[in-house]
Symmetry: C2
Subunit: 438 residues, 2 copies
C-alpha cells in the first residue's frame, strides 16, 4: 500500500476509492508485516473500519469533505485520543484513557482523517526503546522516539503518521526508515494534549512518503491553539501550493558539517561527498559561528531541567519503574541550577538571529546529516540525536529527505534545515533537491 | 506645586501656563526641599528648562501637542535615558550613559513630557536604600525601591514619576509617602530599556497625586513593544475616560487580610477597621484559597533565581561592591534548582484563574493593606513588601490609595487589587472609593 495520502484523498474524493477499501488495504499490510515490524501499540481493526465506513457514508450523503477525508493516519502514543488508550510508552501510564483528543488529533479528524491506531513510542518519548524494528532490516533499530510512526509509514502500513521531536525523535527515525520526516518551526503546530517533556523543545513531527504529503499534513495541523502558549493566531498557510512552486532561482544550500562530522561513519561521508558533487555550485560549506557550538550543551541543559519538572510526578510515583536512562536524565535534571537553565533558554533568541543572517545573505537551506550513519544494528539503542538537537533547540524547521543509502542497503536521509518561520520554503527547496538528483 | 498633571497639561494647552513656568516652579520646590528629601540622583536644571522652552516653542508654532505637553515627569534611575546617566543605584554602573531611551521614556517624550531628571532608586531596585528620606518626616524611610519617585511626587517636586515593582517597590513607597502608586497588569506597560531583574515579576510603576493623573499617565505608556515579549499588540485603552465613568452599581470589595495580617501594626488594624465600617455592606471579608498561601514562596523563588541570572555579570564583576542584601539574594538565587523555579513559574497561571472567579462572581476589587504599617522609623530599611508580593507574582493590577493616616501622622495607603487585564476598572473603583469616603 504505497499510495500517497494526497493521491488517496483524491481517489476518495473523486469516488474511485472508498475509505473502507483503503483502510482494509492498510490493515492487510499491517497483518502481513506487523509481526516483523511491531509498529503499533494500539490498533482496533473494527474501530478503524467503523471510522472508514462513517467517512464513506458521510461522502455518499453529499456533505462537504475535508482534505484528508477517509485517509488513515497513525498517531504516536503520546498524543491523547479520546477513543483509544494513550500510554506514553511507560508502564506508569498503563490503561490511561484520556477524555479528550490532542489538538493535532482534533485537526486530523476535522480534516476527515481516520485515526487508524496508536504507534509505538519509546518510554516517554525519551531513549529507552519500544518493541519496533526497522522495516528494512529487523535486526536494526527504527530510531526513536517516534519509532512506530516512522516504521509504519516506511512499511506502507499507513501513508501518514504523527510523531514528535524534543531532541531528534522525528528526523532520526525518518532517516533510519527511509521516509520523509518533518519537524516544523517551534510553535507552528499546537502541542496541547501531547505528553509534555519540554515546552521549549517539544515539537509535533510529521511522517510521510512524499513531500506533497508532508505539506498536505502540515496544512491541516498548523494553527493557533489557546492551550499552547507558543502558537500564534495567523492566517492559514497554503503549504501544498507553496511547496509545489518552482523556486524563482535555483536554491543555494549551506553545508554545515558541525563539530560532530568526525563521528559520522564512512558511508555517510561517502554519500555526502557524492551529494555535494552532484549539487555542484549549488552548495557551499559554511562554518557554524563559534557561540553556536554551545547549542548542544544548551539543549541538554534545557531538556534535562524541563523533563525533570514535567515528569516529576512519574519520578515520584514510580522511579523504580522508569528505565535507567530516563531515571538518570530526571535525576540529572533535578540538579540543574535555575541560573544555568535560564542562561540556556536565553541563548536561543540571539542564536536564531545570527543564523537568520545566513538565510538573508545567501542560502535557502542548511544541508547537514540526520545522524551519524544508517540505523545502527541492534535494538538496545535508538541512535544518537546529535545532528538534530541544535535545530530543535533553535526551533528551526527541519526535513529528513530519503536520498541516500549505506553500503548495508539501509536508507540514509539528508537533513535540510530552514529559516525559522519559513517552513513552506523549506519544502519547496526539498522538492527542488529531489528533482535535481533524480 | 501641587498642580495635577492633568490640570497642568490643560493650562498649558489652553495657553494660561507655559512649560517653562511650570518647570521653574518645580525646580524652585526642588531647591527648597531637596536638601531634606534627597529624591534626585540626576537633575540638570538647564537641561530641564531647555526641554520646557522647546515645548513652549513647539506649541507657539501651532504644531499639534501631546496629552502631556510640557508636563515634567521624574524617572527612576533604572530607566535608560539617552540624555542623562542611568546608574541603577549601584556603584558598578557609575557614569553609565545609555545610548537610547527606555520604551516608557520614549512614550513620555512622544506625549510631550519634559523628563525633569532621574530619581533615586535603591541599589539595583532591591533592598539596600538610597539617600532619599520621607518628605513627611525625614527620620523615616520613604519606602523603596522607587524611593525618589514616590518622595518627589509627594513633596510636590513633580506631578508624575515612573517607578517599578518586582516585589513591592511601587505600592509600598506610595503608601509611605501618601501618593497614588499604580502597578499595572503584567505586560501592560513595556519594560524594555529598564534594568531587568525578573521578566516574570518586573512591572513599570506609576506615581501621581490623583487617580486622574494615574489614568492619564497609564494611557500614554500602555502598549506593545517588540522588545518586551510580555506585551501584546492591542487597541489604545482610554484609561482616562474609563476611570472617570460612574460604576453602573456600587462596587463590592473583598477584604483579604492574608496570613500576614497579624504582623500589621495597631494603627493599620485600627485604620482598616474604620475603613471597613465606613464601607458598610460594600465590603466582605474573603479568605484566600489554600494554594494561594504558597504565593509568597513562589515569588521569592522566582525573584532570587531570575535576579541571580540577570545580575550575574554584576555579581561576577564586583560582588564585593554589592550590598550584603543583594549579594545574599544573588547567592541564594544561584542555588535555586531549575525544577523548583519552573514549579513556581507554572503556579502563576492556575492561581490567576482561581482568583478570576472572585471577580466574576461578586467583587470589583480586593481591598488589602499596602504594608505592615506607616513608614518605619530609620533609613536602614525600606520596609517589608509582604503585602505586595502575591499581587506582583500574579501580575494583577494594584493601586495604593492614600486614604488613611497613622497615629504618628504619617500617611497610610489602602491597596486595591483588580482582575488581571482590568486596570481601568480598578481605577474607576478607586475613584468611587475615594468619593464614598470623602
Amino acid at each position: 500500500m504505497m499510495l500517497s495520502a494526497a493521491d488517496a484523498a483524491r481517489e476518495i474524493a473523486e469516488g474511485r476509492l472508498t475509505s473502507e477499501e483503503l483502510v482494509q488495504a492498510c490493515l492487510e499490510r499491517i497483518r502481513a508485516l506487523e509481526p516483523k515490524v511491531q509498529a503499533w501499540t494500539f490498533l482496533d481493526q473494527e474501530h478503524a473500519l467503523t471510522q472508514a465506513r462513517a467517512a464513506d457514508e458521510h461522502k455518499r450523503s453529499g456533505k462537504p469533505i475535508g482534505p484528508l477525508h477517509g485517509v488513515p493516519v497513525g498517531v504516536k502514543d503520546i498524543f491523547d485520543t479520546a477513543d483509544m488508550p494513550t500510554e506514553n510508552g511507560t508502564v506508569l501510564h498503563q490503561g490511561r484513557t484520556p477524555r479528550a483528543d490532542a489538538a493535532a488529533v482534533r485537526s486530523l479528524r476535522a480534516s476527515g482523517a481516520v485515526i487508524l491506531g496508536k504507534t509505538v513510542t519509546t518510554e516517554c518519548a525519551y531513549f529507552a526503546p519500544g518493541k519496533t524494528r526497522n522495516p528494512h532490516n529487523p535486526e536494526h533499530t527504527p530510531g526513536g522516539s517516534s519509532s512506530g510512526s516512522a516504521a509504519a509509514v516506511a512499511a506502507g502500513m499507513v501513508p501518514l503518521a504523527l510523531g514528535s521531536q524534543t531532541a531528534g525523535s522525528t528526523i532520526r527515525p525518518a532517516s533510519f526508515c527511509g521516509v520523509y520526516g518533518f519537524k516544523p518551526t517551534h510553535g507552528l503546530i499546537p502541542r496541547s494534549g501531547v505528553l509534555q517533556l519540554s515546552r521549549t523543545l517539544d515539537h509535533v513531527g510529521l511522517f510521510a512518503r512524499t513531500i506533497e504529503d508532508i505539506a498536505l499534513l502540515a496544512e491541516q495541523l498548523a494553527g493557533w491553539d489557546e492551550k499552547d502558549p507558543d502558537t500564534r493566531p495567523r492566517a492559514r498557510i497554503p503549504f501544498q501550493a507553496l511547496a509545489a512552486e518552482e523556486p524563482p532561482i535555483p536554491p543555494m544550500l549551506a553545508l554545515i558539517k558541525t563539530p560532530h562530522w568526525e563521528r559520522t561513519d564512512g558511508d555517510t561521508r561517502e554519500a555526502f561527498g557524492e551529494l555535494v558533487e552532484a549539487l555542484g555550485d549549488r552548495v557551499e560549506e559554511v562554518e557554524l559561528f563559534p557561540s553556536a557550538l554551545e547549542a548542544w550543551d544548551w539543549q541538554k541543559t534545557i531538556m534535562a531541567a524541563e523533563m525533570a519538572a514535567n515528569l516529576e510526578r512519574e519520578w515520584r510515583a514510580g522511579k523504580d519503574r522508569l528505565s535507567p536512562q530516563l531515571r538518570e536524565l530526571i535525576e540529572r535534571g533535578r540538579e540543574v541550577r535555575a541560573v544555568d537553565y535560564q542562561r540556556a533558554v536565553r541563548a536561543i533568541a540571539p542564536a536564531v538571529e545570527s543564523l537568520d543572517e545566513l538565510f538573508m545573505e545567501r542560502y535557502d537551506a542548511i544541508l547537514t546529516p540526520t545522524a551519524l550513519g544508517t540505523a545502527p544494528r541492534g535494538l538496545a539503542s535508538t541512535g544518537d540525536p546529535v545532528f538534530c538537537t541544535p535545530w530543535t533547540l533553535l526551533g528551526m524547521p527541519a526535513l529528513s529527505v530519503p536520498l541516500m543509502q549505506g553500503a548495508n542497503r539501509l536508507p540514509l536521509g539528508a537533513q535540510l534545515v530552514g529559516r525559522r518561520g519559513f517552513d513552506a520554503r523549506l519544502m519547496r527547496t526539498a522538492r527542488w533537491l529531489v528533482a535535481k538528483l533524480a
